[in-house]
Symmetry: C2
Subunit: 384 residues, 2 copies
């Protein structure tokens, strides 16, 4: 069946720059199945139309994805590199994510390994406002790992959390963030907490001469998140924590790119685990590296190897690569492993992470003694 209406109403070739970006998919199946899945991606992510009635001409030639390469990686596993016209993804992050993994996230056997952007596709995105180099300048910390901790447990009063903030800052922690689950509970309301914790940290900074900053959690409903970011900025917070899996990636990008806010962004992977720990998902490299950067994260938080989560050293190394890999003007961001910090594995961590890392230490700062300042100092000595 051919439909005139489809063939006669196609856009013209001058709508297309010719620039195409590529996604590398890992596809399960024997060669025949994997190839048919690759072909399916080309249609499902663009025209969502049966191949046999997809109109010849502009649409078939330019809109449908294109298999650029197809190679075996191991038994019943293939890498298919598929290219899409930049114009299919537009300059909107929501639609870019959709082209990468929208409908096909619902089909089995398809995993996103990496994205090969091009300069024009990335042009509309600012990426991390600070990135590694400027974030270091901002913190006045050269050439050593940066230390971060989290205010918790939930259920403490603002007084309790701000006293903890004071002790952490006294002990030499560089960035003190809210625990990602501390939002606007009645135990410690957002605005009061931001004011009090900022005060405590400023007080400690005056006494120590350090430059510790506070990163409140602004993960919040759609109509609240910009207000929280601006409130935090006004109150003197030094950075912001956002879980884009909860807010949407574009909410984080919007805040990162907003010049009236202008603070470094720490991204948290809450609610994103299903992409990361399953066969059908998105790689650590692409999701926690590339996509966090395009969405404006200056630091990408994730569970460290050896901790209470399940990431392997190899997966963490892939996050590092995704945090550093060349993406034109999009700056690299800090790998920020959390959990699993211990004196025992510090040498291994130093070997894996080197210098350009933010170590996120949570419960560890409570574990060794009753003196939180001393615990922080000892961690710092061990790590830097």
């Amino acid at each position: 069946v051919k439909h005139k209406i489809l063939s006669e109403n196609q856009s013209s070739k001058n709508m297309i720059s010719g620039d195409r970006f590529k996604v590398v998919y890992k596809i399960k199946g024997d060669k025949e199945l994997a190839l048919s899945r690759a072909n399916d991606i080309c249609y499902e992510q663009t025209v969502e139309f049966p191949p046999d009635i997809t109109p010849e001409g502009f649409i078939n030639d330019n809109i449908v994805g294109r298999i650029e390469s197809f190679e075996p990686v191991e038994k019943d596993t293939f890498h298919a590199t598929i290219s899409f016209a930049n114009e299919v993804a537009t300059s909107e992050l929501t639609q870019l994510l959709n082209v990468i993994y929208g409908n096909i996230s619902i089909k089995p056997g398809i995993y996103v390994e990496s994205i090969d952007f091009n300069e024009n596709l990335l042009k509309p995105f600012k990426g991390p406002r600070f990135g590694i180099h400027k974030f270091r300048e901002y913190l006045a910390i050269n050439n050593r790992p940066i230390l971060c901790t989290a205010l918790k447990p939930m259920g403490l009063t603002t007084k309790g959390l701000s006293e903890l903030a004071y002790l952490f800052a006294k002990g030499g922690i560089d960035i003190i963030k809210d625990d990602h689950g501390i939002a606007n509970q009645p135990f410690s309301k957002f605005e009061e907490r931001v004011i009090e914790c900022t005060k405590s940290i400023n007080k400690a900074n005056k006494e120590t001469g350090f430059n510790c900053i506070y990163a409140p959690n602004i993960t919040a409903p759609f109509s609240e998140i910009i207000n929280r970011a601006k409130f935090a900025k006004e109150a003197g917070a030094g950075a912001l924590l956002i879980s884009p899996g909860l807010t949407g990636f574009d909410a984080m990008r919007t805040i990162a790119e907003d010049d009236s806010i202008g603070l470094p962004i720490l991204s948290h992977p809450a609610f994103l685990g299903s992409y990361l720990i399953n066969e059908n998902g998105i790689s650590h490299f692409a999701l926690l590296g590339q996509l966090m950067r395009i969405s404006g994260a200056d630091a990408t938080i994730y569970p460290n190897f050896g901790g209470r989560f399940s990431f392997s050293i190899l997966e963490c190394e892939n996050i590092i690569k995704g945090a550093y890999t060349s993406m034109f003007h999009i700056k690299p961001c800090f790998p920020t492993p959390g959990g699993g910090m211990d004196y025992k594995n510090i040498h291994l961590m130093q070997k894996v992470y080197g210098t350009d890392v933010i170590y996120l230490i949570g419960g560890g700062l409570f574990k060794y003694s009753e003196d939180i300042v001393k615990n922080a100092q000892q961690f710092k000595e061990a790590c830097v």
Copy 2:
């Protein structure tokens, strides 16, 4: 190690209503492992603190999650029902999602089966503005399945898409939505498309006496989505299509609850597949039923069984249950299976879905003949 600062700065019991909501998790592992995972959920989703130093008193008694029941379902698989204080989740959807599946989405062996809300937890959420009953009134359709189709393929001009819209409307389709991947590409810009497709459908309605509505895709960046919703409303669109996996769930909720918009919402599952087709994820019942409703969907679109996706009849039946299950004042929504519609399986579909369903027919309307109006009429006759 005990820390005075933790025990002395706990919130007071009057911060807690005593209302707790429950999440049923399916946990993999032998009894010992599964129980330790259940225990882990209680801490990870709330205090994120090592159990041995979590302070006794208010925090331990009220903030930490509580295992309400723990039962085997099959070999090495258990159901753990865990309750959380309403105040831990607050009235913010972002934090509610975080408590349900934030950090533990990153830990293996944990799957969300269902959520047992309570009346007070749901009070701040309006849910679907229309729901099944009012959506029927709005469409003036009693007691028969509703027919929906999608404008595609991407790459057609606005003229082409609006001509298709006219033919679909003439053929008696009730709801004509944009394909979920058609956003604001240069081939058919959003505003122009909304104006032209609305016109075409109104013209057809005048000729047929039907009441067909247009549902443009407003999935868009954070700063654009409200504008698109309002533009669509102004232009006379009858409903809105949103992919909350791309925009964040709370963006959809915000639009659904906005009285100045006031249109029915169709949710699309793009980018949510990793939760749905993996071992570590969220059930069809909870994600496509319960959570879509709390986020304001009047119709929950998903891939039908027997189509080009992978859902089973059982999974589709669980979506139906999630779309209908009692959630206090939160209205039920329409199951909206897409794809896989064919004369061959219509009897099975009628058996599974009954009357309260929106059938989403895409490529099928092009398949049988060159006469799109006739194809639509034939489908309608077969389905209703």
